[in-house]
Amino acid sequence: MQNNKKNLINDYPRFAVVGHPNKGKSSIVSSLALDDSVQIGDTPGTTQVKRGFPLKVDGKVIYELFDTPGFQRARRVLAWLNEHEPTSADKRPDVVRAFVAEHRDDEKFRDEIELLEPILDGAGIIYVVDASKPYGPEYEVEMEILRWCGQPSMALLNLIGNEDYREQWKTALGQYFRMVRTFNPLTATFRDHMDLLESMAQLKEEWTKSIKVAIGILDDLHQQKVEQSIDVIVDTMVKTLSYVYKKEIKGESATKKEEESAKLGYREQIIDTEKALEKNIEFIWNHRSIEKMENILVLDELGLFSKESASIFGLSQNELMITGASAGAITGAGVDLMFAGHTLFLASLIGGVVGGVGAKIGFDNLYSVEILGQNIGKRELSIGPMKNLNFPYILLGRAIYHASIIAKRSHALRDSFELEDEEFFTEQIINGDMRKKLEKVHVQLRKGEEVKKELLEEYKTVILRSFLGLLR
């Protein structure tokens, strides 16, 4: 029975993240497990019991990480172990096992039992230290206990503060661990994450295959998340840009109050759609606990609908003129094609000029308000689709930026984030070449036309390119 349990346990690699209290063990686990539900605190003892984070694919565990409480009475544990020093080193793990068995119900060693148990069950050791603080001999006690366990081990240098004592630490840790790596869970990118897994794969030959599989899976998962993000962004763009708000009115024409209320309804819907998009993106990237973001990113009336905000993510007046001109030229080119070029491409030229002028005007006139014709005795006030040329770029810029921040954001972070300066975004997110391609779709949506699948695919590709550019 005991053997069966042991076999099952050893089926996949397990890693116990251990160390002194408050050295970022939970941050590392949170980051590696892509789970922001882990409590991370400045107070020692935030993690009270060990917690397993299995990487499962279709229910099958590929590897498991353990977040553990920090050492509390390491000296007394080592003292006990030394008292029971066996005759040969190969028996040392049995002594540690005996310690756990003897003190399982001893409240005094609760934390040590919690952290030693997964190791004695076969987990590899990931010993975490804060390399922004100087090395101290008190750590040697912990490292000695871990050495007694006889499991493959590595040390991670976490830089919590601004100082850097890595060299000091490396000299000391190198005497106890086969591998010493730097990993900052707060700034680690997806690539850093994969590199760390590569290092973990080297700890034990039998684990290499599983970890390589895990790397492949996580790579695929990352790719899927990117694709899902683009899909939801494009869906939201289509939905928002073609959105028409309708409201029944009583009289022959809409009163000022009816018009204002309809405008408000329209704006609220647009803002709600953007909020829903953000939630969706956060869900895709497994960020369930971001609370402060809404204050920064979610739009209020002054946000999306003011020139000030428009200039952050949207286009400048001149860029708008160019975009408007190219949009007009697209329409004009259609006319040229119909006449097989016999208009000497005059239509494109006229279209371009009209489009450009339209863009200038459109900056202030956001959307059209229309009274729809009588339909079985009913009159409707209709608002939308948004005719402002800048609007799609504001919306898209915000969406891509938000998605890129969320995609890059470590799950160990618990703070909010801020927008960067405007020049960065207009250049990085949507350049002139992209704009031309995007505008083809925007023109159709603005007209309330259905966009062809092929065109939408091209639209997605442009957005994907921009998104990947920001992920780098």
Binding site: H20, P21, N22, L32, A33, L34, D35, S37, V38, Q39, G41, D42, T43, P44, G45, T46, T47, Q48, R51, G52, F53, P54, L55, K56, V57, D58, G59, D67, G70, F71, Q72, R73, A74, R75, R76, A79, K108, D111, D130, K133, P134, G136, P137, E138, E140, V141, G161, E163, I217, L218, D220, L221, Q224, D231, N286
Partner: protein
């Protein structure tokens, strides 16, 4: 057990469309479902149909497919009956023989062959066209107008709403397919009318035209019409004799005496008319019906996979479900705010003992010099000392103690054990814990680090122990 998921129809489309609007399932649930039905992973349509069947109970409102099929089948049945009846009575009307003048077969040929061919041509145009052009062609199809009449019925409102779900292409193929079916029913009615009249009356068929067509030329035309059945039904091709005999002139007081003399032979025309109806009105229409059914199904297939959300669902079926979260929910620790009850802002200038927790003697001396603090005795604890060494040390300490600690290292239970030994020592009057920052920061500590120490010391509820917060 045979399940319904093998049947793919407009109902499947509507059911999936309604279900997916209300319920999508999580990736995990969808992947588990797909793995349970792994043999269907290569057949996404069947997998989607099975998924719909298993989850349709989640739809809270009445199934739209029920409304649609109820209304649509009753409308279709009614129209089918009407078309059959119209066909039958058209047949009766065309073949009604007053006894005075014979029945002109040209009328029948016109209804059984020319009109169906023209109508089929419009159907073909409609099949090939889209948008406004399609709308233009359908204007020439009577079914368009008949169905428009039905849209005034109150019960058709629901159908209007449902119609919005369908794509324009699907609506087109539904209409064209329906048109072929009703046309076939009309022709079957016409055929029954012909057979009924032939069986119940002795009809004298003739042909008559103002155009100058000789019987031989007319026979050649008819022979051309009859080409498709020349081999297997030669009796259904009118002979030159019969054509000559059947020519009827409106002017003249009496029928051609030859006609009257050979009245029994004139009935032979019915076989030709029968085949005209069977081949042109029914057989060709059937071919068109199969063609439109093929395209209708193809479009339905295409639209089925274009339902919003199906892409994601299929992706979730195919994509392994990866989870990295902990199954065990963490009990979050409640952190109390420090209230500074055991805090001092300044140190004494001298202490009975200065103890460095995890510090070396040299480091302690450096701090003392830097802070200008004196101690009668300087000791080290923690670090490489054993617990028992520390125990012994606490017994020898007296009066006032300054305890240096590393501010960035939070107080472990090992330290608390040591502190409790000091508290228990009755000879000690006061213990001041001084959290120091790194040398690089000139011993200055972070606020957050100090707060951790304050909270821990306050938690001991001892009036003997104080934290130095020398900000």
């Amino acid at each position: 057990m045979q399940t319904k998921y093998n049947k793919f129809s407009i109902k499947s489309y509507l059911d999936l469309s309604q279900l997916i609007g209300e319920y999508q399932g999580s990736h995990e649930e969808n992947r588990v479902f797909a793995l349970k039905n792994e043999r269907l992973l290569e057949n996404p349509k069947k997998l989607l149909l099975l998924w719909t069947e298993k989850n349709i109970f989640r739809v809270r409102e009445r199934l739209e497919s029920k409304d649609f099929t109820d209304y649509f089948s009753s409308l279709s049945n009614l129209l089918a009956f009407v078309f059959l009846l119209i066909g039958f009575f058209t047949g009766l009307g065309l073949l009604s023989y007053s006894g005075n003048s014979p029945v002109n077969i040209i009328y029948f040929i016109f209804i059984a062959m020319v009109i169906p061919l023209v109508s089929m041509l419009f159907s073909l145009f409609s099949m090939l066209s889209k948008g406004d052009l399609l709308n233009f062609f359908t204007l020439f199809i009577p079914l368009t107008w008949i169905e428009k009449i039905f849209t005034f019925l109150p019960s058709s409102k629901k159908l209007d709403t449902l119609n919005e779900i369908f794509s324009e292409d699907l609506k087109k193929w539904m209409f064209i397919y329906r048109l072929q079916l009703f046309s076939i029913l009309f022709s079957i009615g016409l055929l029954f009318g012909l057979l009924f009249m032939v069986a119940t009356q002795d009809i004298a068929f003739s042909w008559s035209t103002t155009l100058k067509i000789t019987p031989i030329a007319f026979q050649e035309i008819l022979e051309l019409f009859a080409k498709p059945w020349t081999i297997f039904y030669p009796n259904a091709i009118p002979s030159v004799d019969l054509v000559e005999l059947s020519q009827y002139y409106r002017l003249g007081e009496h029928l051609n005496p030859e006609m009257v003399k050979n009245a029994d032979k004139l009935g032979a025309w019915w076989q030709f008319l029968f085949m005209i109806t069977v081949f042109y009105a029914i057989f060709l229409r059937l071919l068109l019906a199969f063609l439109s059914l093929y395209f209708y199904r193809k479009q339905l297939d295409k639209d089925f996979f274009s339902i919003k959300g199906v892409d994601l669902l299929l992706r979730e079926f195919q994509t392994p479900y990866v989870s990295t979260e902990a199954p065990k929910v963490e009990k979050h620790l409640e952190i109390k705010e420090e209230n500074n009850t055991q805090t001092k802002e300044t140190t004494r200038r001298a202490y009975s003992h200065i103890v460095g927790w995890n510090f070396s003697s040299d480091e302690i001396r450096l701090v003392n010099d830097s802070k200008e603090i004196q101690g009668l005795e300087v000791n080290t604890a923690g670090g490489s000392h054993s617990y028992y060494d520390d125990q012994k040390l606490t017994e020898n300490l007296r009066r006032t103690i300054l305890l240096y600690v590393k501010s960035w290292e939070p107080p472990t239970m090992d330290f608390i054990d040591f502190l409790e030994l000091l508290i228990e020592n009755k000879k000690i009057d006061e213990i001041q814990v001084y959290p120091l920052g790194t040398v690089g920061r000139y011993y200055e500590s972070d606020r957050k680090e100090i707060a951790v120490w304050k909270r821990k010391i306050e938690g001991l509820k001892s009036k003997k122990v104080w934290v130095i917060d020398a900000e």
